[in-house]
């Protein structure tokens, strides 16, 4: 099973953190990721720039372009990790070790479509 682990932050909370504190969190999350690469669970990850930098497309041809994220919420997508796991329990165990959870972020696990082919 492949999962996308989505990391959500309250951006205001993040902006209010002192710089050394932010770097401490970056480092802890980086260590968590490095371990997943070593154990073969990670298929890649990235952090995201703030939601203010997002552009959303809607409608046929994507002509309705709006500045900002898909939904205006307090908690926005801050990054993601892609995981290859045996089952949801293994993915949950990895998600629970995510250091950002201590600092107020939430993570969401979404199973990905197998083989990348979206057919219903």
């Amino acid at each position: 099973m492949n999962y996308l682990l989505l990391i959500y932050w309250d951006e205001k909370l993040w902006a209010d953190l002192p710089l050394p504190e932010r770097n401490r969190i970056h480092q802890a999350c980086g260590a968590w990721h490095d371990e997943l690469v070593k154990s073969g669970h990670s298929c890649g990850a990235t952090g995201l720039q703030p939601a203010a930098a997002a552009t959303t497309l809607r409608g046929a041809g994507g002509h309705a372009i709006t500045d900002g994220p898909f939904a205006e919420t307090k908690e926005t997508l801050g990054g993601f990790e892609t995981l290859a796991c045996r089952d949801l329990d293994e993915a949950l165990a990895i998600a629970r070790r995510f250091p950002g959870l201590k600092d107020g972020c939430a993570v969401e696990l979404r199973p990905t479509v197998a083989g990348g082919a979206c057919v219903d």
């Binding site: 099973m1 999962y3 045996r86 089952d87 329990d89």
Partner: protein
């Protein structure tokens, strides 16, 4: 037209198959899911097998080992269903698994797998309950809908959604390892206790189905004890449910009005259930790691041991509640402890503890305050507290009780 003789034969056959459905459905399904690794396919195949039984047994008679017959037939039906699927879909793995004989007797470990899958915390509590009743206990969608007073389509959709989530999210069909077991077991026990409470709560619904829910919860707890003999909490939960259920016939009058524990006719308590519950509490506590359910069962056992309300060992109950608060801190348990302290050491002491609590929007706190004030003859203050409780109460039986108490203290205010 059938002669009366024929009709009774086929009715008997039907009844026998229905009984078999209740008894074996979950176990056979559990083994089938392990083999086909697909909830929906296993369910459809087993339904087919039961339909075949219904068509054949009344005329030909039931086979010598009905459960094994159902299992074998369901496997064949599953193979048929896979064959009928789109040719583009390769289902070799499933076919191989299905044709490899590994014994047709449902295995106990499979039942445990099924319980843990149905009670996975990634499913909502409502979905866990519905799925457990449907797959482990063999309740029909209609029966569960009737028990929970929801429309059949709503319940059916809830089940479909839960099964889809199991499949898409990769919820495993496995007994959790030692590291995960405490949390997962606690989730399973919680689901079983919710099933029991739904059956025990006096509010509405079909009485027969509700009694069934209690019996099923008790049966599930017995199954967990059998499958996980070293765990103490399943024993604690079974004891708690038996001790609670022992008071079923004494807790309401003929009009359905609530009778408080202290006013119940204790000769109507079910001694057999009490004896079994008390013995289980003893075993659960002797392991030295009594948990949330074990301690609640111990409290129920202390109540059960008192020949009359006046003889209740309140200091013991207060001590057990103090232990319970340490295991799982909660203002509701604090409230119960305060009431026990009031009974053991005096109502003023209890009131002082209640005044430190906050349970906004919840009627039980003002109701408990009102009762202690009433016992202290502080009727005007009691009336105010009863009014506050009445403004928050939901259940009809409880409302009637509080109104009656309010009328009583209002009369005595003068």
């Amino acid at each position: 037209m059938n002669s009366p003789g024929e009709r009774s034969l086929s009715d008997d056959g039907r009844a026998a198959i229905e009984a078999l459905h209740r008894e074996h459905y979950g176990r056979i399904l559990a083994s089938l899911i392990r083999v086909v690794r697909d909830f929906a396919l296993a369910e459809d195949a087993l339904q087919d097998a039961f339909a075949a039984a219904l068509a054949q047994w009344p005329a030909k008679g039931a086979p010598p080992n009905p459960a094994a017959w159902l299992m074998t037939t369901a496997r064949h039906k599953a193979i048929d269903r896979i064959r009928h699927r789109s040719m583009a879909e390769t289902k070799h793995q499933e076919m191989i698994a299905l044709t490899t004989p590994d014994g047709n007797a449902p295995a106990p470990a499979d039942s445990l797998r099924l319980i843990f899958t149905c009670c996975h915390p990634a499913l909502s509590p409502e979905a866990q309950i519905a799925l457990t009743l449907h797959t482990v206990c063999g309740f029909t969608t209609e029966e569960i809908a009737r028990a929970f007073l929801v429309p059949v389509p709503t319940l059916a959709q809830r089940l479909v959604r839960a099964k889809t989530k199991i499949k898409l999210a990769g919820i495993p069909y496995e007994i959790p390892d030692d590291a995960q077991l405490p949390e997962r077991l606690s989730s399973a026990l919680h689901t079983i206790y919710l099933v029991f409470n739904e059956g025990y709560s006096a509010s509405g619904g079909d009485a027969l189905i509700r009694a069934d829910l209690c019996n099923e919860a008790i049966r599930l707890a017995r199954q967990l004890i059998e499958l996980l003999p070293d765990e103490s909490e399943p024993r604690g939960l079974l004891a708690l449910m038996l001790l609670t259920d022992s008071r079923r016939h004494a807790r309401a009058d003929t009009h359905g009005a609530l009778i408080l524990l202290e006013d119940q006719d204790r000769t109507r308590w079910d001694r057999e259930k009490i004896d079994e519950g008390v013995a289980l509490v003893g075993r659960a506590l002797r392991t030295g790691r009594a948990g949330f359910y074990g301690v609640q069962a111990a409290i129920a056992a202390v109540h059960a041991a008192a020949a009359s309300a006046r003889e209740t060992d309140w200091p013991q109950i207060a001590a057990l509640y103090a232990l319970l608060v340490r295991i799982r801190p909660s203002p509701l348990i604090e409230l119960n402890r305060a009431v026990a302290v009031a009974m053991a050491e005096g109502c003023e002491k209890g009131l002082a503890l209640l005044d430190r609590l906050q349970l906004p929007g919840y009627h039980l706190l003002p109701a408990a305050r009102a009762d202690l004030l009433r016992r202290l003859d502080r009727f005007a203050e009691a009336a105010t507290a009863y009014r506050e409780a009445l403004s928050l109460v939901g259940a009809e039986a409880e409302r009637r009780f509080l109104e009656q108490r309010l009328a009583e203290v209002s009369r005595r205010c003068g």
